[in-house]
Amino acid sequence: MKILVVTEQRQGKWNNASFETLVAAQQIAGAASGTISAVVIGKGVPALAEEVASKNVAEVLLVEHDLLENYTSDGYCVALKQVVEQAKPDLVLFPHTYQVRDFAPELAASLGKGMIGDCVGFRGEEGKLVFVRQMFQGKTAADVVFTGAAPWFASFQSGAFRADLLQAHSSGKAPVNAVKVELKPEQIRTKPLELFKETKSAVDLTQASLIVAIGRGIKAPENIPQAEALAKAIGGEIAASRPICDEGWLPMERQIGSSGQTVAPKLYLALGISGAIQHVVGMKGARTIVAINKDQNAPIFEIADYGIVGDIFEIMPALTEELQKTKG
């Protein structure tokens, strides 16, 4: 099986999820006796290609073009379609990043293929590959298989594989082969402008060692002071899942998850958070996770060290009181 892994960089800096996907590819290659071609795409990125060549891959395909300096979905689709047609892989893998979500389904469709996106794992079963992804906001897992002829396209969720398991090349370095692609300015219909961050956040949650996070279960903004009192009693920062910030109940800078901050505190206390994938990717690195939720089947309990099934409006004040007692 020939596996093509499309890595991701922006302005010469890696998106580290690329290495996790390379690990996934190495594991699939191991299970299905495959070879890996890693694609590095952009402009002025040979140094990144050399870096990937030191990993256990058969070759690195370096795709460079002036029009690939800044990411555009059109530029990437036109260029990568040519790469797939030349390399003729069976399987094309991507990290499931915002950028990949923006172009990979179109790339697959341009070749008449579908894509299984946001996978968390795979299994080799009787000669076929089964991809595991989440559905219903993480409440269920699903086994998904490709039907029809290769190439198949799939992406892996950030954090699904451990980048530190990436194997180095056994004899030094894999060859870096340049792939020439045809790309014309008129094929790129959108014009990328400046990258920016919103006003600098006053709070850096990545530095907080104790975090109390609230989700939909908080029900109304008037209830937030109860959670804030708990955060104060424990000496931590208050944070939230996306819906709370979407509602404007807490500022966006307090949001944990794929579109917000990724944190790894000593303690993460999740109050009324169901544990949708988009939230979990931002906090599953916490050392100790506590979940309090009225639904005992909430996916957050899958990653929690300690759990209380119950009404957060009863437990929050009780917990605040207990904490004050121990500190006082």
Partner: protein
């Protein structure tokens, strides 16, 4: 400006899910508008208020989907299109989008909006695939739309707090990020007005779409736990006391 908004009906957020093979048992659970799509609908209504034109909502699925289309009409959409299809839940993204694209192809469209992803399948591919099949430019994870002189300036969300402005010509397809706006509720007047609005029902077959599955969901199941959770029980006070004890002496994090 003629805007088509694709909305999906999904199981209600707190619906208890009973698994049946590769889907869920639909009897006895409630359904609602996919939340990310409600932001796309709101954005369409706001663009119409500013630039005029028509907002058409497009949905696909069994008879129950009509209720969600009615809700969109009550919020202010002008008319609805319902692709009637009982097997929708079994279709892969590409084949679902073939039907949506065929229906959109029959309508005047300056802009097509979708939510970022659905709360059930969560594929998050509809917008991008629509653009591919309709041969339109697209952009995803949009947090702001400004329309000027036949093109748009968009604010795109990237990861880890980064954003990017991009320029995109019209017509185009945009996937809207949740939180872009504050979603309105339907008014009583809106609900009354919706009763007179048209919902055109068309069959997938009549759109001339052939289904060629690219992937198949073999089964769904409750995920295996990666951690062993220790559940603390008792009254709220007892559970809270046990938790503080554990955090202090076992996990040693406070």
């Amino acid at each position: 400006m003629n805007i088509i908004v694709c909305i999906k009906q999904v199981p209600a957020k707190d619906a208890p899910l009973a698994i049946a093979g590769n889907w869920i048992k639909e009897a006895d659970i409630g359904f609602e508008m996919n939340e990310p799509d409600s932001y796309a609908l709101e954005e369409a209504l706001r663009l119409k208020e500013k630039h005029g034109g028509e907002v058409v909502v497009l949905s696909m699925g069994p008879e129950r989907v009509k209720q969600t289309i009615k809700e969109a009409l009550a919020k202010g959409a002008d008319r609805g299109i319902h692709i009637t299809d009982d097997a929708f839940a079994q279709l892969d993204p590409l084949n679902s989008v073939k039907a949506l694209a065929a229906a959109i192809g029959k309508e005047k469209h300056d802009l097509v909006l979708t939510g970022l992803q659905s709360d059930d399948h969560g594929f998050g591919q509809t917008g991008v695939l629509l653009a591919a099949l309709l041969k339109l430019p697209h952009a995803t994870i949009i947090m702001q739309i400004e329309v000027l002189d036949g093109k748009m300036k968009l604010k795109r969300e990237l990861e880890a707090g980064w954003f990017q402005h991009i320029e995109c010509p019209l017509p185009a397809v945009l996937s809207i990020q949740s939180g872009i706006n504050k979603v309105r509720y339907a008014t009583l007047k809106g609900i009354m007005a919706a009763k007179k609005k048209e919902i055109a029902a068309i069959t997938r077959e009549s759109l001339g779409v052939t289904i060629e599955p690219t992937q198949k969901i073999e089964k769904i199941y409750v995920p295996t736990k990666t951690k062993k959770t220790e559940f603390l029980t008792g009254t709220p006070k007892e559970a809270a006391a046990k938790l503080v004890e554990k955090l202090k002496f076992e996990a040693r994090v406070i």
